[in-house]
């Protein structure tokens, strides 16, 4: 089965827009036309749109900082940015991408939109808290914008002491405040999801029937709620030291700067799983829909999300193998870091098994899911390499590490984000987009990404340290390749916003279930009515119960 069930809008150009459909007239999109009806809404679907607009904005702000860095790295000399300016560019890139794009990206847009729809609920458990969470996010965002205008901050996104507490000249306290504030937005969202998933499931929606995206968001929410407060208190300690001189990491008092790193990574390593777990959930949905088969080993895929969240709390020390922590601690952290590869591997094998003999469609969501799987495997395997004590000493703080986490965060999470966007767009907006353009941007993103980041593995292995913008001339070829890839990637990221935007007016109406997928969200009109379900659904079927069309096989 191919993509025949979805008609290309691009093949019917020059239509003066397609008139509003009956579904659209009663949808959440038309339930109020004033700005206030959006800014003071408590509808989870509208809040999802608010988040979508805000995180997209920050994605391009963070991307602009990356563009500056990649341009500066074209030559071995410092020709575009000063040393200080380069430090500020990579710090803002990290801060914005981590806290203002990656962490809220999938949970707060697609999670907000889909959690109630997927479990058959009217809304999240605390709708006003959900809106408050967006306002807190925007307040944190305003602080970040102010930091940007006021000249930035140069500590790196990790705010390591004693650089951040005693020496850095930038707006450390303001930047830390921005992250502190946005943390509360994360906590409230996580809290809302956990309560909603526990208490608002429709009759018959048992834990064993939850979509895998819900399982992964549940695991993510546990981390959001339990790890984020550690970051909050740690940033508060830095602010106390900078503002009032009340320091607890200050070495001259016998404080321990390494303690800061422990606290920071106790949050920030689980935060990596906050960023990637929702993406793993998205890919489970996309793979099942593309293969038109039940997910192979549903319980294991669901359980592996919880396992990743649990083990993820116990691996933070692998960021400090060369920072002077005890060799015994390093050995244990190394072992536990390797252990995380097991549940991650389970997911990849089960996706592959799901695809085996499936009736695979090559629509854009599936292409994004496939690029996710490929890039996630490369990122994951290099993570296993980095978890080895001896190898880590060699490549620590080099571009090898940079390439590794970009394969997970950008190759993985951002691919899944675009996959989710292409999969659920017809549900969210109610219109079809051009599949051909979708396939093209999936291919371009995959190509641009690999060209950007694969050379960085080589650079790192050859010894190019991260966070330097002046480098020996022999590294230039690889840097030029990387920058060339980044420019393809930049264009490829812009592309979907053009044809998706175009589809809002000129796209064909999507119908309730354009992908012929299972799941409660596809049982209601697109775009969904304000009240989601006309009557409370009762679930009687297992998840992903596609009718399998068996073929004659010879093995």
């Amino acid at each position: 089965m191919t993509s025949d069930h979805m008609v290309d809008a691009a093949s019917h150009p020059a239509q003066p827009g397609i008139a509003e459909t009956a579904e659209e007239r009663v949808s959440y999109l038309r339930a109020g036309h004033t700005l206030g009806s959006w800014l003071f809404t408590s509808d989870h679907k509208r809040i999802a749109i608010l988040y979508f607009i805000s995180v997209t904005f920050f994605f391009f702000v963070g991307g602009a900082a990356a563009t500056l860095m990649r341009a500066d790295l074209l030559t071995p000399q410092a020709d575009l940015l000063s040393d200080e300016g380069y430090n500020r560019a990579f710090t803002l890139h990290g801060v914005i991408m981590v806290w203002f794009f990656l962490i809220p990206s999938i949970p707060n847009t697609f999670g907000n939109f889909l959690v109630p729809l997927m479990i058959g609920a009217r809304d999240l458990a605390f709708p006003r808290l959900n809106l408050l969470s967006w306002y807190i996010y925007m307040l944190g965002g305003l602080f970040t914008i102010y930091v940007l205008i006021a000249g930035g901050v140069d500590t790196g996104w990790t705010f390591y002491t004693p650089l951040s507490s005693m020496f850095a000249n930038g707006n450390v306290v303001l930047a830390a405040t921005a992250v502190f504030i946005v943390g509360f937005s994360s906590i409230l969202t996580g809290l809302n999801f956990i309560v909603t998933i526990h208490k608002l499931r429709a009759p018959g929606m048992t834990w064993g029937r939850l979509p895998l995206f819900i399982w992964s968001l549940y695991a993510t929410s546990l981390i959001l709620v339990l790890a984020t407060p550690i970051l909050s208190v740690t940033l508060a300690l830095i602010a106390a030291e900078r503002l009032f001189g009340i320091g607890v990491f200050n070495p001259s008092l016998g404080g321990d700067p390494l303690l800061y790193q422990h606290l920071f990574w106790f949050y920030s390593h689980p935060a990596v799983y906050i960023m990637v777990l929702p993406a793993l959930g998205v890919v489970s949905e996309l793979v099942a829909a593309a293969a038109r088969k039940p997910v192979f080993g549903y319980q294991f895929v669901a359980g592996s999300s919880i396992a990743i969240a649990a083990i993820g709390f116990l691996v933070w020390g692998h960021h400090m193998f060369v920072a002077g922590q005890s060799a015994y601690a390093s050995a244990i952290f190394s072992f536990l870091s390797l252990a995380v590869a097991v549940p991650s591997g389970i997911k990849v094998y089960n996706w592959t098994a799901t695809l085996y003999k499936g009736q695979i469609s090559l629509d854009p969501p599936f292409l994004f899911a496939m690029s996710f799987i490929g890039l996630f495997v490369v990122g994951g395997l290099t993570g296993v390499i980095l978890a080895m004590l001896a190898v880590d000493v060699h490549v620590h703080d080099t571009y090898f590490v940079v390439a590794h986490f970009h394969y997970i965060m950008v190759g993985g999470t951002v691919s899944a984000y675009f996959g989710a966007l292409h999969y659920w767009w017809p549900k969210i907006i109610g219109r079809r987009y051009s599949l051909a353009w979708g396939r093209l941007s999936a291919a371009l993103i995959f190509l641009g990404f690999n060209l950007t980041f694969f050379p960085q593995f080589l650079l790192g292995y050859l010894g190019m340290p991260r966070r330097y913008h002046v480098y020996p001339p022999e590294f230039q070829v690889l840097h030029v390749l990387s920058t060339a890839g980044a420019s393809i990637l930049g264009v490829a990221y812009l592309l979907p916003f053009t044809y998706l935007f175009y589809s809002m007016r000129y796209g064909k109406p999507a119908g309730a279930n354009p992908w012929e997928a299972t799941g409660l969200e596809w049982s209601i009109p697109s775009p969904p009515p304000k009240h989601n379900f006309a009557e409370r659904p009762t679930v009687t079927r297992a998840p992903y119960d596609y009718t399998i069309e068996y073929e004659e096989s010879d093995d």
């Binding site: 999240l124 605390f126 608002l200 339990l226 550690i230 208190v233 008092l253 303690l259």
Partner: protein, 211 residues
């Protein structure tokens, strides 16, 4: 008693709404425990690094003021627990009185805490503010830094609790909050108050008693 409860938008029945409210509060409290958990970890590590100095520094704290404050907070929690029970029985005035008593005890804690800070300030032991500091050694200074941050963070939480309870008392007296119809509001706020109390129950030995 739950048959008259209003049900808000996403919920289908009062029991579901009550269970969701309680679960939401418990999860919030879990995140609060992690927030203070970070501070306890810092204290623990510094103590491991400088055992003698920190034990000596702990002796400088006013044990009895901390002890009386512990008793005050425990009593206030009792008052809140009574208020939660009374709310289920629907005695509006009695609920308001117990909550007001708890809030007043909380305010008493803050006043006593301020007196304690004043004494430490004149001893030259309050970091950040005392100009003529008289720390025996750098580790004492470190300990007092942690002490100040932990107790101020606790006081901030307590102040929020006092405002919360005062708001409930105000609403109860104006009859805009009705019991037992909305007894779960009292129960959920009570959970927060108890947590602030429990955090102090751990801060008191960690700062004052381990000397």
């Amino acid at each position: 008693m739950t048959e008259r409860v209003q049900v808000h938008e996403p919920f289908v029945d009062p029991a579901q709404q009550h269970a969701a409210d309680m679960l939401g509060m418990y999860i919030f409290l879990a995140s609060e425990i992690m927030l203070f958990g970070g501070l306890f970890a810092v204290l623990f590590v510094c103590r491991l690094l400088h055992p003698q100095e920190i034990a000596a520094a702990s002796k400088e704290l006013h044990l009895w003021i901390g002890g009386i404050n512990t008793a005050i907070l425990l009593t206030s929690s009792l008052a809140v627990a009574i208020a939660v029970q009374l709310a289920r029985q629907g005695s509006r005035r009695a609920v308001a009185i117990s909550l007001a008593a708890a809030a007043a005890l909380g305010a008493g804690f803050l006043i006593l805490k301020a007196v304690e800070y004043r004494l430490e300030y004149s001893d030259g032991l309050l970091p950040g503010f005392s100009t003529a500091s008289k720390f025996a050694n750098p580790a004492t200074h470190l300990f007092m830094n942690i002490y100040l941050i932990a107790t101020v963070l606790h006081a901030v939480h307590l102040s929020i609790g006092i405002l919360l309870l005062a708001g409930l008392v105000w609403k109860l007296l104006r009859r805009s909050l009705q019991v037992p119809k909305r007894a779960s509001v009292i129960a959920v706020s009570g959970l927060y108050w108890h947590l602030v109390d429990v955090i102090w129950i751990f801060l008191y030995p960690a700062l004052y008693l381990i000397r």
